[in-house]
Amino acid sequence: MSAVTAGAMGRPPPPPPMTVGYVGWLRKNLFSSWANSLVTIVLAVVLGWALVSLIGWVIVTADWEVITSRVQLYLVGLYPKDGIWRPQVAVLLISALLGISWRTWGGTARGFAVGLGAVAVIVGVIPHGLDILNRILVLAIPAAIGLGYLLAPSLVAGRSRRMVGAALIVVFVALLLIRGIEGVPGLEPVNTRTIGGLLLNLLLALFGIGASMPIGIGLALGRQSNLPVVKFACIAFIEIIRGVPLITLLFMSRHILPLTFPENIKIDTLYLTAITIMLFSSAYMAENVRGGMAAVAPGQTEAARALGLRGWQTTMLITLPQGLRNIIPAIVGQFISLFKDTSLVFIIGMLDLVEMGRVTIQSNLEFIDNGREVYLFIALVFWIFCFSMSYVSRRIERALGVGQR
């Protein structure tokens, strides 16, 4: 409409030069008032100085041998050498999955696929302590992504349901590969004590969040129950678990929980830890679910009751599904927290990524001064994972329109 008018009246006058283009953007966003300008300048100087000194340290001062000589320890812990191809194949499978989802969903998946591929190429090409075999393996990641992208049409044909199926198969196969299958030559189960490094953090967090879903939902429903005993038990469980530090729970699970089992059953530390993390996580999950269900508009419940649904039917068919949709961002947030919290398993002698770093620094006199390098590396790894997840969470939040209703 306005374009027609403008066309009829000839070219509109150009906007004032100070409000468009880079200069205009700068003026509007950074220098709109003297206070704003001052803030801008001070922050820019501080930020610039910090960046320059950090980059200088990373390139000039730091000695990265403490990382490059032990990459495998940081990634998979003491996983047996002759079985190391198993987690590697698992990573390639997941890369291929990423390629498939890029073709199927685009958007965020594309960003991740391209990002991962680029990082892999950089790591594979820059001159540093990696040997040639590892370089080839790293460079196989973009190849796997590409393969997944190419094969996507014939495998999932753009259908989301098939995509989810493919994802599940890949995750399941990856887990089986890592843990091993009894009686299959070449795939002997590994001793769970050898699983460590980043792999341990990921496995524990994944298991914790997945397995805590049903328990968390149960606890949340129990907390809202109108049966006092059930309600009280659920509240007590949630508040106790949420009220004590995870390290004390882990310590107790390692030294008290085994006492409750019959004498001849010996439970692996990894499973004890996973169970503890699951219980810990389920208390938080319960609170998330409760919050999500509380956010469902009361009209929904009233409508359901008006249609003659019973109380439990209303919950199971109306409130819970809508509540769960509300809390997907919260679940991702919890996953991020849990992922960081898995680094607390050091308290019971498990060698996760952080503990592996601490051990490496302390137990080698030549590395005793390289703490900064190790912790920067650990921070970066955690940051990449957590930031990616929080990015996905924000995308989902936007897609679901949570907070805009």
């Binding site: 966003n29 950074l30 709109s32 704003n36 803030v39 801008t40 922050l43 820019a44 930020l47 049966l227 006092p228 005993v229 059930v230 038990a233 508040e239 106790i240 949420r242 009220g243 004590v244 530090p245 995870l246 390290i247 004390t248 729970l249 310590f251 107790m252 030294h255 008290i256 006492l259 409750t260 609170e287 919050g291 991020i336 960081k340 680094s343 952080v354 703490g371 900064r372 912790y375 650990i378 921070a379 955690f382 940051w383 957590c386 930031f387 929080s390 907070g403």
Partner: protein, 390 residues
Amino acid sequence: MNQLLYVQGVPFWRNVVVLRWAVQIVSAILVIAVIAGFFVNVSAEIAARDIPFGYGFLDREAQIPIGESVIGYHPSDSFAYGLLVAALNTVKASVLGVILATLLGILVGVARLSPNWLLNRIALVYIEVFRNIPLLVQLLFWFLIVLSLPTVREGYIAFDAFYLSNSGVNLPWPVPQDGFWPWALATVIGIVVAVIVARRLHWRETETGKPSYPILAGLAIAIGVSVIALLILGPMTIEVPTPEGRFGRPQGGAELSGSFTALLAGLVIYTSSFIAEIVRAGIQSVSKGQTEAARSVGLSGMLTLRHVTFPQALRVIIPPTISQFLNLTKNSSLAAAIGYPDLVSVASTMTQTAPAISLILVVMLTYLAMSLTYSLIGNLYNRAIRFRGT
């Protein structure tokens, strides 16, 4: 009676009242059985395996070193007292941390909504950096920053009374004398009177519309009473830290140790990044019409935020913030990594001469008590503002 008549003819297994009771009783039995089974099993096993357990150790001498204490400590004190000292250290970190993290979190959350692009982006980067890195790594980072200050013998000194070095900060601090308790009593009375007066004035203000400055008046009364009592009673002397001995470490006054400073910085910055997101989401949840209405009646941006948006956002903000307070408190258990004697650190030292399992139980109960206190305060406050809001 009515209800019984109503259910007549319904078989008892479909009778709601019977069913409810049945479910309750079954679940009660289940819960009790699980808990009792757990305790019986564990205590039997503890006895069978000769695992040391018990609380006889609590009044023995602890004989362990604890570097910092709010209430004084000597190795000849008992285990129970040592645990109290350690718990107070945790409380100190937790309470200070909660206050500072809230303030910083609100600042960053508001900055996140600032029209200044750079400030806004920096707030975003701040949030995304600090909440996505494990706290332990951040604590070590802040500890290294503290260590990069000059040593205590080359540190910064102001007025021969304030010392700043990588060992921490030393400040002059009042030491209570004889008149302390009368003075404290006078101050409390002053505060009570001030509150009463302020309420009266507030009531008058709302009734008559005359500006009566209730907060100013209240503050004046409270401070005035306290200061006058201070001058009359002389309850405290100021102790100034002075460097002593070969190592030149300031003695006397108050000390914030380097470890504590690093711990506080780490906890506050980590938690504030979560609170900032909560605050941002809370403010954005207030409907836009509110802001527009406030601006159209002539309130400035700052005033709109303070009087219109923020009070409404509070209701959304408080519950998740409380859970951040709990997290901060629990996270302070990582303090041992950077040398602050918190509860977990001291308890793990004690495990050498006392039963580990008993000690961990004490630690868990203490944290539980602190968490429940925070929850309680938060819930009360939330209820209070909810009541006023609707």
